[in-house]
């Protein structure tokens, strides 16, 4: 009897243990992402399994979170779906979409130091990524689509961050950066938005190889010093009456070089900016090539201004070194054969002054009557911004980009055509 009793006790024990064990398994299966994050050791990796997640998560210790393909976070609450703070956190391969009940001000909130976010896709009408008080972090291969209501990425009080290969469309500002320094923007593309890259009160920023297309303004830099803006493509920013390729306002000691600025309403818009170096840029087929006011001590050299409806408008320029640019519209005369015109090219402030008062006068651009008035009402010499030695021809290294066939191809085509003609003539004559 005792043996039976023992058996029963043992059976009960097994049952209880079994039940507990099973229950334990069930808890594990339903464990929240946040609990899994808590379980991941410092320096460890958390793999998120394929599925749809609605749970807002907070990453606040140095771990690497990588999602399987097919992971979708839907933002449906009033909190950011992902919050990153602390340091050395990695986040990879995440897709985020807004749902109807999304009331969070932004999808991802980042603060802290040395994070890396890569391969992320966000589709939301709200601000996609808020980068606040963040340093030494990398944001790479990110795709953001908006509904033209909010900015895509805002960067506040942050420094030494890199934003690379980010594709943004249909937002307010692609990037809005304020109060930071040493932030770098490489190879990003922003289209169909208000401003592509909008930087304020941020020094030592670097913008290289970005493309800003079909926006109100390609790149807008304000209250900034020591910026380096090179090899960017700012095109077709003409969607608004106030559109421009590159706007510099209150920008100092900066370098703007080798950028392609074409098919914008205004190509280069420079105001209240001093001691900048603007060189080797190609400003082509804009409505107004360059518009400058209150610019002092800038060096504007070796730029090309080609096929713009109006090459330039300028007023209140002082002590600028403007030389060796190619101005399509300039009357050129080279008597000493140095490749530079002896006639200086003056960028007249007449139109800018006129349209500032009555913007509707833009309708009369290039009207013969206006040109006559411009000649009659000459602006005082000291107010003119002028190129002292405009280039006679487009420099060779630039002509290669203009799809002009090489000499060899031209010769080959000519010879083929001549031979073909001779053959036709010869055969035709024989038949007769």
């Amino acid at each position: 009897v005792e043996g039976r009793r023992e058996m029963k006790v043992l059976q009960s024990l097994f049952l209880i243990i079994g039940l507990f064990g099973f229950a334990g398994k069930e808890v594990l299966a339903e464990e929240s992402l946040q609990a899994k994050i808590a379980d991941t050791p410092v320096g460890g990796t958390l793999h998120i399994a394929k599925g749809v997640y609605q749970e807002p998560i907070i990453l606040d210790k140095p771990i690497f979170v990588v999602a399987e393909d097919g992971v979708l976070f839907t933002s449906c609450s009033n909190e950011p779906i992902i919050t990153i703070r602390g340091q050395n956190i990695g986040l990879k391969n995440i897709k985020i979409a807004s749902c109807e009940t999304d009331e969070a001000p932004f999808s991802i909130q980042v603060s802290g130091n040395a994070h890396k976010l890569e391969d992320i896709t966000i589709s939301s009408s709200k601000l996609a990524i808020m980068v606040d008080n963040t340093h030494n972090s990398v944001f790479q291969n990110i795709k953001i689509s908006g509904e033209k209501q909010e900015n895509a990425i805002e960067v506040w009080g942050s420094s030494n961050n890199t934003f690379e290969k980010i594709l943004i469309d249909h937002v307010q500002d692609g990037f809005y950066a304020e109060d930071g320094s040493y932030n770098k923007f490489f190879r990003n593309t922003i289209t169909d938005s208000r401003y592509g890259i909008h930087v304020m009160y941020s020094d030592y920023i670097v913008l290289e190889e970005n493309v800003s297309k079909r926006n109100f303004t390609g790149v807008m830099i304000m209250q900034t010093a020591n910026a380096f803006i090179a090899n960017n493509t700012l095109v077709e920013n003409n969607q608004n009456v106030n559109a421009q390729g590159l706007l510099l306002y209150d920008v100092h000691q900066s370098t703007i070089t080798n950028n392609t600025i074409s098919d914008n309403r205004v190509g280069l818009f420079i105001e209240n900016s001093n001691h900048n170096k603007i060189e080797h840029n190609e400003v082509r087929t804009n409505y107004v090539g360059v518009q400058m006011s209150h610019v002092e001590n800038n060096m504007i050299e070796n730029n090309l201004f080609i096929s713009n409806v109006t090459e330039g408008q300028a007023k209140n320029g002082k002590s600028n070194l403007i030389r060796n640019n190619f101005w399509d519209a300039a009357a050129r005369l080279d008597t000493d054969g140095d490749g530079k015109s002896n006639l200086s090219y003056k960028v007249d402030p007449y139109f800018i002054a006129l349209t500032k008062e009555v913007p509707e006068y833009q309708l009369f651009f290039q009207h013969p009557g206006m040109l006559l008035l411009q000649k009659m009402l000459k602006s005082p010499e000291h107010l003119l911004v002028s190129d002292t030695s405009p280039l006679m021809e487009i420099p060779l290294q630039n002509t290669t980009n203009m799809d002009i066939p090489s000499n060899f191809t031209a010769w080959l085509m000519s010879i083929t055509m001549i031979l073909a003609s001779i053959f036709i003539l010869y055969v035709g004559r024989k038949k007769l």
Binding site: G112, N136, S159, E178, D179, S181, Y182, D203, Y204
Partner: protein, 179 residues
């Protein structure tokens, strides 16, 4: 006869008063058009929000600004221009109000478009309520606003950030970065 002259004089007087009244048409604020309006100072697009301000010139032209600081910069740079009226907006209701009738608050923690950090209220009580609820803010009357320095908080922060960067990257390693 005397009565007729008196009546005629009175009528004439009334006509003169009426006509002179017609000449002094009150300047009214115009609505902000977000698609086309840009700030006359900083060139940024003007959003139809509580920070927008505007000036109506005596010739009827309207100038819009994205920040009250930009408007005051314009007034300083264009003292020769004839201003009929300047308008600001109530921080809560976005209703336009003549600038001289508003009460202002300087709040350096606020994010205004050009970081001048001044907002305006129709009711003084609302401004006081805001100041009581937000530490480090300052109430300004229109007269006090005219002597306001318009220093931008961001410029100070930028200087701080610069010196911070020059100190080296060691500081950056701290996760609890404070600016």
């Amino acid at each position: 006869m005397k009565i007729t002259i008196k009546t005629a004089s009175l009528l004439l007087l009334l006509t003169v008063v009426f006509l002179s009244g017609c000449g002094q048409e009150k300047a009214e604020p115009v609505a902000i058009n977000e698609n086309t309006d840009k700030c006359d100072i900083c060139n940024m697009a003007v959003s139809d929000n509580q920070f927008a301000t505007q000036i109506i010139l005596e010739n009827g032209k309207s100038l819009v600004f994205d920040d009250i600081g930009c408007m005051h910069k314009w007034l300083k740079e264009n003292e020769d221009q004839k201003v009929a009226q300047s308008f600001v907006r109530d921080y809560d209701s976005k209703q336009w109000i003549e600038e001289e009738k508003a009460t202002f608050v300087y709040d350096k923690s606020l994010k205004t478009p050009m970081a001048y950090n001044v907002i305006s209220f129709i009711k003084q009580s609302d401004a006081k309520h805001y100041v009581e609820g937000n530490e480090g803010t300052l109430l300004l009357t229109p007269d006090e606003l005219n002597s306001h320095t318009w220093e931008r908080n961001k410029e100070m922060m930028k200087m701080k950030m610069d010196s911070h960067n020059e100190e080296g990257s060691m500081e950056m390693e701290k996760s609890d970065h404070t600016n």
